[in-house]
Symmetry: C2
Subunit: 208 residues, 2 copies
DNA sequence: GCATGATTTAACCACTTAGTTAAACTAAAA
DNA sequence: TTTTAGTTTAACTAAGTGGTTAAATCATGC
């Protein structure tokens, strides 16, 4: 995904990322990865002993990528609404650059959730801090009362789903007009921010 | 998915639906489908000549299912907000009963979009009528101005995505507490409805 | 020059897959 | 009784699959 050096190992990782992300673990073929890396199958196994090891290396990389560094945004001092806006911007930015990640992650976590578990445990992902912050803002009357989990689910859903369902969006909504589709995705960040703000921010006349 | 008669053909369709929906086209094995249907592989091919034909039969059924009969709701006389509420209720209802459909559809339309195309063309799915209605309500000042496509995308996203990402929601948000997870999904319809109404309905003091 | 690691080639293994086939059996219809 | 469709069994094919191996080649630095 990132521009790599072009050592053989990096060429393999890049090729494997492409193939795995588009075809998935089961659909991917070692031969195809070798071809795309411009090497042969023997050398592929020379570097990464098995398909599973290669896949795990790439899956971990992608998951780290898919849970972006919202930690920094969340732990800042800014007001909650500003944080939400930044998270949405960060997500849409990421997804415009890597639109195939959502479908890949959904596919693989549903095929074998254990990979996700390991990584979540490893990185100590804990959403409680975020929920607490949201709850605090609600108690202060800045935003409407709702379960923080649902608010987070709503925001993440609106960010990610249109990329996961890209073929439907493209064909049903835009008749495969690529430019219109790109424009749509480019608008998403502003649209979602406005939508969320309308939905939760309490205009400061009377606070509930 | 539906309770079938138990003719052999229906047993096969039921078994194939289960296997395809959980494993996908590539992960599914004809032998497993035969086993689950309580028959043998030869008979499976006797009824459905190939894996592809069997898959297509089931995929069409699922897609019909996944685009629920919102036509009836949309073409009714009720105000737009009421229609939106009904669509959300219909979607969440459907997904609680068939929570694996979103992941399956996302997987398969990304693997091979041509199946979707055929079906969309066949059923003459046209979202323009919906967009026109939404635009009308906006022009009448009932709801805020935004691109109807984005509004539809937002609503559908919030409905479907939490089911597609079920393993993440379950583990990260609920530590695999099944009861809490079920409760979460049961709350979704009300939460989404409230969220959308807050976001788009103009309180009738001054209209924009 | 020589040693070392990277790389290729090409054959190979063990296994799985979708799909076929032939033979026999069952049950109900004609 | 005979015919027919449905069904089973079991063996088979053809084509992949991931993975291994041995030998030869290439490039580099010591």
């Amino acid at each position: 995904m990132e521009p790599k050096k072009d050592s053989t190992e990096d060429k393999i990782l890049e090729a494997a990322t492409n193939v795995f992300v588009t075809k998935g673990m089961e659909g991917a073929r070692m031969q195809e990865i070798a071809d795309e890396a411009g090497i042969n199958k023997a050398l592929l196994h020379y570097y990464f002993r098995s398909k599973e090891r290669l896949f795990e290396a790439i899956f971990a990389e992608i998951i780290k990528f898919a849970f972006p560094k919202i930690t920094r945004i969340v732990t800042s001092d800014e007001p909650i609404v500003s944080k939400i806006e930044q998270v949405i911007d960060a997500y849409i930015d990421l997804l415009i650059k890597h639109p195939f990640i959502p479908a890949f992650v959904i596919k693989e976590i549903n095929r074998d959730p254990s990979g996700l578990f390991k990584l979540v445990v490893k990185f100590g992902l804990n959403p409680q801090a975020i929920f607490d912050q949201i709850q605090l803002a609600m108690d202060r009357g800045e935003i409407v009362q709702m379960q923080p989990r649902h608010l987070v689910a709503n925001i993440i859903s609106m960010c990610i789903f249109p990329f996961a369902a890209r073929p439907i969006i493209s064909f049903v909504l835009f008749k495969d007009d690529q430019q219109a589709l790109d424009a749509f995705y480019a608008e998403r960040a502003e649209v979602i921010k406005q939508f969320v703000i309308n939905a939760i921010v309490i205009k400061n006349k009377e606070k509930v």
